[in-house]
Symmetry: C2
Subunit: 188 residues, 2 copies
DNA sequence: CAAATATCAAACAAAATGTATGATAAATAT
DNA sequence: ATATTTATCATACATTTTGTTTGATATTTG
């Protein structure tokens, strides 16, 4: 979000983000025109082009912001805990993060842009998990490639989170975590 | 693929499918123009418009074909087996299906069109599983909502399949199934 | 072989993108 | 506070891509 922090740039990008998300709630991203965005945002089209080559760059930038925000949420939490405990904490952070940015995630999901999102979430959770779980005894014993284990749990858990997000309010965050707790074995 | 089976229509659509997939290997779907497709396919642009409104309809049609093909693969296999055994057979069919259509799946994956694919695969596997697992004793005992269980395993397993697909030939199909076998508990 | 129809080439209208220019307003720096 | 820098704006215009139409040609069906 910071180019060199000229206030006008920050403001413009913020409006573009908000407008894009707003439009994505009613219209598929594929069908949104740059001119639609600018019109709704009350921003000159040449200003748009001053910042982004196309709408894909705009969306990239928006997702990049999300990523930064999630990484920040993940920054400070404890090390050296059992793999299950670790996973549960990671998830708790993730679910809170998604819940806070509900609007953004839903908008992206409703637009068949899941690929984006899943890649990014898996990327983050995988990197995190890979570091933490690398020398975990249970995992070494299981004789499974670490990446397989991570892909499995990351995919499963993210899928639960995403469906939870779209079926608004069917379960509370706490219930969701409780269900997940039952799904994950004590020893992986 | 059949409108009313005029050979020319079948041929045209087939070529359009192949051409789109070919282009998607080198270029993101977002950036592919209808004129690119037609040029490469040696098909007149007005012919394209005679069949599809835009490139998204073309991709839809292509994915629809995939879906039909997977459903056909899933048609005939045994009922009344334990949940784990059931899941393993389902997966074996799924993996074989993906392996056979490797080119198509990779092309779509490389194009950030995963959303499409994951939705579709989850849809199919969920519907299948929901029918089969509904009255399963183990599941009733677990006190978890069925949809949560299905989402979890569907997401996890599909994610493994997808990453397997992109890391070409790192494991054999058989190894992959063996790993998955270890990941799924005997009693869910 | 006759009838039906899908494809084609070509030309055109409309929509959307992308670029350039100089004036104006807002932010930064001294 | 003022000067300087620079982001935004309005406007105009070139280009690209899409979408439609027409009638001729070729292929398929019956």
């Amino acid at each position: 979000m910071n180019e060199k922090t000229d206030l006008r740039i920050i403001k413009t990008k913020k409006i573009l983000f908000e407008t894009l998300l707003k439009l994505m709630k009613h219209k598929n991203f594929d069908k949104i025109k740059i001119s639609d965005i600018c019109e709704e945002a009350l921003i000159n089209r040449s200003t748009f082009y001053a910042h982004y080559q196309d709408k894909y760059e705009l969306l990239d930038d928006l997702v990049e912001d999300l990523k930064v925000s999630l990484l920040k949420d993940l920054e400070n939490y404890e090390n050296n805990i059992s793999s299950k405990e670790y996973i549960m904490r990671l998830l708790s952070i993730l679910i809170n993060h998604i819940d806070e940015k509900k609007d953004i995630y839903s908008a992206i999901l409703l637009n068949n842009r899941n690929g984006f999102l899943i890649d990014f979430l898996i990327d983050v959770t995988e990197r995190e998990s890979a570091i933490r779980l690398k020398n975990n005894e249970d995992i070494v014993k299981s004789q499974l490639p670490l990446e397989i284990i991570i892909r499995f749990y990351a995919g499963g858990l993210i899928n639960i989170c995403l469906s939870w997000l779209t079926q608004k309010e069917k379960y509370t965050k706490e219930e969701l975590l409780e269900y997940i707790n039952k799904l994950i074995p004590e020893k992986i």
